[in-house]
């Protein structure tokens, strides 16, 4: 415990930075995945483009992606922006599939009824489809959140100052405690983010509360590799 206590401010700094680096990809994934999900539901061709594209991007391991990205976007490998963009790409890859499924899961009779009542297409999308797709979107964002937080630490290899530094420094200097603290904080962050997201979900989707958790709600969220049905993957890349 001694090491921890004498380095609290450094740990705090790194944690804050870690949080900062995680938030943007999570939000970006959510926002970008919705139009992509909508596109994917238009027809089968678009669906396979979106999902295959997402799957391919998700397949690229993290370190190579950090390195390759500067060729395509005007960043350098060691830039923080580079890291954030890479994480966002992973997040979108995960969420696009989720969003497509979420929008597809809204019952057709409900949509029909809304149009008949007089919702314009845009209003119907934002006020009926999106909210009803909410629960599945929520599940997807929870996966993205957890994966992103875990993945940020890999960024230390390209010089990012986050919790990954604790792993690297701890190993270099032989301080096991440092590594353990890094892991613990990382897990706690993931938990906190998850609780916040679930809380937002409760506020935004009040009709979903007190629903007995049916089998579907407990079903694993599909990740980009599945052709047909859900598979959970383990930790980040």
């Amino acid at each position: 415990m001694s090491w921890t206590l004498s380095n609290l401010d450094r740990i705090g700094e790194l944690t804050l930075n870690h949080v900062r680096l995680s938030i943007i990809p999570i939000i970006a994934s959510f926002v970008l995945s919705i139009p992509l999900g909508w596109l994917a539901n238009r027809n089968a061709v678009l669906r396979s483009i979106v999902i295959t594209g997402g799957s391919l991007l998700f397949t690229i391991p993290s370190l190579p992606l950090f390195v390759i990205l500067p060729l395509i976007i005007p960043t350098r490998v060691l830039d923080e922006t580079n890291l954030v963009v890479a994480l966002s790409i992973y997040g979108v890859a995960i969420m696009a599939r989720s969003a497509a499924d979420a929008l597809a899961s809204v019952a057709a009779p409900t949509l029909d009824a809304s149009t008949a009542i007089g919702f314009s297409p845009a209003a119907r999308f934002f006020r009926v489809e999106l909210p009803l797709a909410g629960p599945v979107l929520l599940a997807g964002i929870r996966v993205v959140s957890v994966s992103t937080i875990a993945l940020v630490s890999v960024g230390v290899i390209i010089g990012s100052a986050n919790l990954g530094y604790l792993f690297q420094n701890g190993k270099q200097r032989g301080i096991l405690e440092e590594v353990v603290v890094g892991i613990l904080i990382s897990l706690i962050l993931a938990l906190v983010f998850d609780l916040i997201i679930v809380g937002i979900g409760r506020l935004a989707l009040p009709w979903n509360r007190d629903k007995p958790l049916r089998r579907r709600a407990l079903a694993p969220t599909p990740l980009p590799h599945d052709s047909e049905a859900p598979v959970l993957t383990g930790a980040s890349r």
Partner: protein
């Protein structure tokens, strides 16, 4: 663009494929190392996760555990886990073997959740009525598992293995940072020598490896899904319908 061409040139330069060169060369050695680490870890993880996942999928017990477990494992930072295990094993294993053992265990731990989830969800995806009919026809539980559940659940099981393999390939890449071999060595050497050809070349290699492996698995998944299975939408509707109409009476195992 120049950078890309430079890296590609570096990759195809025959000098870099000469046996006996100094690390990080030759390329094929690193490639083989990478594949070897991956294969060993996936096999070990598979021996643990696949039977367990099949058991949970067949009996239906432990679902909550699987879901919770895979969710929690997703939160584990790979670098942290890797370094943690390397250090722990460094305490009581020699300098050479510690990285190998520690890293392999890390790879196994990271590969298990995907295969577990794949096996479990694959078995769960099988139509309950088909299983009920099989049981009523006099198949033993083992026969139901091997002749009905596994063949029909194979696409998802393979999907789980696919995700696990890619997970390990990615982690092996990072593990080079901790002193292991593999293609990641090329990248980290490049970082150390500030040689961008090496960095990008290594990155392209790993990416190519991942895409090829993923592609092969995708084909395998497609292959296991043929042979008379209904298309997924119809199957899902039927499964949903059969679930709501009558709870299968499970008194029979």
């Amino acid at each position: 663009m120049n950078l890309l061409l430079g890296a590609l040139a570096w990759l195809v330069d025959p000098a870099h494929w000469v046996r006996g060169s100094q690390s990080p060369l030759p390329i094929q050695d690193r490639l083989l190392e990478h594949l070897a680490y991956t294969a060993i870890a996936v096999v070990i993880a598979g021996l643990i996760a696949l039977p367990l996942g099949c058991h949970i999928g067949h009996t239906g017990k432990g679902r909550q555990f699987v879901i919770g477990f895979t969710g929690a494992m997703r939160a584990l930072p790979t670098l942290g886990l890797l370094f943690f295990l390397l250090m722990v094993f460094g305490y009581f294993l020699s300098f050479d073997t510690a990285p190998l053992v520690g890293a392999t265990i890390a790879f196994v731990i990271l590969a298990i959740p995907s295969m577990l989830a794949g096996a479990y969800s694959g078995l769960e995806s099988v139509d309950r009525q088909t299983i009920d009919a099989a049981r009523a026809n006099g198949m033993t539980e083992w026969q139901i598992l091997t002749q009905v559940e596994v063949p029909l659940g194979l696409p998802l099981i393979v999907g789980g293995i696919r995700a696990a393999v890619l997970q390990v390939i990615a982690t092996v890449t990072i593990a080079s940072y901790a002193g292991l071999g593999g293609l990641g060595r090329i990248i980290t050497s490049g970082i150390g020598l500030n040689d961008y050809d090496l960095i990008l070349g290594g990155a392209l290699l790993v990416t190519a490896l991942a895409l090829v492996v993923d592609g092969l698995f995708a084909l395998a998944q497609r292959a296991t899904a043929t042979r008379g299975l209904t298309d997924s939408k119809a199957a899902r509707h039927r499964t949903a319908a059969s679930r709501s109409s009558r709870p299968p009476t499970r008194e029979n195992a």
